[in-house]
C-alpha cells in the first residue's frame, strides 16, 4: 500500500489535488474527516493543533475551529458544508473568519471537494481545492507563506497552484 502524500497542481484550473491512501475502512476514514471530535485529533499539523468551537455537519452547516500554535497563537477557520454524499464525498468552502465565525469577505475563499474510494487495502482520499479567480490567487500569493500558514492552512493551497511553469 502506498501511503505517500501526493500533491498535484493544475495551475490553469487554479486548483490543487492532494491524494493519500489510508489503511482503514471507508466508514472510519469518513468519520475522521467529518466528526469534529476526531478532526481535533489530527487536523492541526504538529506543533499546531485544531480545536473545535462548533460543528453542524449538514448541508448549509459549518465547522468552526481554531488553530492553536506552539506559542498559543490563535487563528480561526470556518469550513462550510455545501453538499454531502455519505460516505463517498463532500463539498466544502473554506473561509477566513473571526472567533464568532463571521467570515472575512476581504480574504479569498477556497472551494474544496473530498472524495473517498475503497481500495483493496483501505481507502483513498482525494482532496481538491480550488480558487474562483486569478485575483484571489494573487491575493493569497501576496499574503505570503508565513501569514498563509498561520491564518488558515487550507489557504496555502493557492500558493502552490501556480508554482510550476
Amino acid at each position: 500500500m502506498n501511503t505517500t502524500t501526493q500533491v498535484v497542481k493544475d495551475f490553469k484550473a487554479k486548483s490543487i489535488l492532494i491524494t493519500r491512501e489510508f489503511n482503514a475502512p471507508i466508514d472510519l476514514v469518513w468519520r475522521s474527516f467529518t466528526e469534529s471530535e476526531i478532526l481535533d485529533q489530527w487536523w492541526g499539523p504538529a506543533p499546531w493543533r485544531a480545536e473545535t468551537i462548533s460543528q453542524d455537519f449538514s448541508v448549509g452547516g459549518y465547522w468552526l475551529y481554531v488553530m492553536i500554535g506552539p506559542e498559543n497563537e490563535k487563528h480561526f477557520g470556518r469550513m462550510n458544508y455545501l453538499a454531502i454524499n455519505k460516505p463517498n464525498s463532500f463539498e466544502l468552502e473554506d473561509v477566513f473568519c473571526d472567533e464568532n465565525g463571521v467570515p472575512n469577505r476581504e480574504l479569498p475563499v477556497s472551494s474544496g471537494s473530498n472524495h473517498f474510494t475503497t481500495t483493496p487495502t483501505g481507502t483513498r482520499v482525494e482532496f481538491k481545492m480550488s480558487y474562483a479567480t486569478e485575483e484571489q490567487l494573487q491575493q493569497i500569493v501576496e499574503m505570503g507563506f508565513e501569514e498563509g500558514i498561520t491564518a488558515c492552512l487550507e489557504q496555502l493551497n493557492a500558493l502552490i497552484i501556480n508554482s510550476k511553469i
Partner: protein
C-alpha cells in the same frame, strides 16, 4: 509592494513570458509579438519580473535580451515541498487516529 518569485508567477501573462524565455533569451519586441497586449504592458511585466529577480537583462549591442534566472524558480519547489510536508504531517497523525479507532472497534 511585495517582490518575489510568487508575485512574479501570480499573473498569467508573466507566466507565459517565463515559459517563452525559458526556451531562449528574447527581446521585449519579440516577446510582445506573442501577446495581444501592448508593448508597454509587456515591458511592465518584464520590469516586475526583473524586480522579482526572476529574469535578468543581457545587453547585446543595442538590443536588450531577457534571460530566465532558473535558480530562482527553485524557491517555488521549496514552497511546494513545505506545503506537502504540512499535509504529510496531518495525514500521519490521522494514521495514528485511525489505528486507535480500529482498536476501539474490535
Amino acid at each position: 509592494m511585495r517582490r518575489d518569485v510568487f508575485q512574479a508567477i501570480a499573473d498569467p501573462t508573466r507566466r507565459a513570458i517565463i515559459t517563452l524565455i525559458a526556451l531562449q533569451a528574447m527581446t521585449p519586441n519579440a516577446l510582445a509579438e506573442h501577446f495581444d497586449t501592448t508593448r508597454q504592458a509587456v515591458s511592465k511585466h518584464l520590469r516586475i519580473l526583473t524586480e522579482c529577480e526572476l529574469v535578468k537583462q543581457n545587453f547585446q549591442g543595442r538590443e536588450i535580451y531577457y534571460v530566465l534566472e532558473a535558480e530562482k524558480m527553485k524557491e517555488v519547489d521549496k514552497w511546494l515541498e513545505q506545503f506537502r510536508k504540512i499535509w504529510e504531517t496531518k495525514f500521519n497523525q490521522l494514521d495514528d487516529v485511525l489505528t486507535k479507532l480500529k482498536n476501539q472497534k474490535s
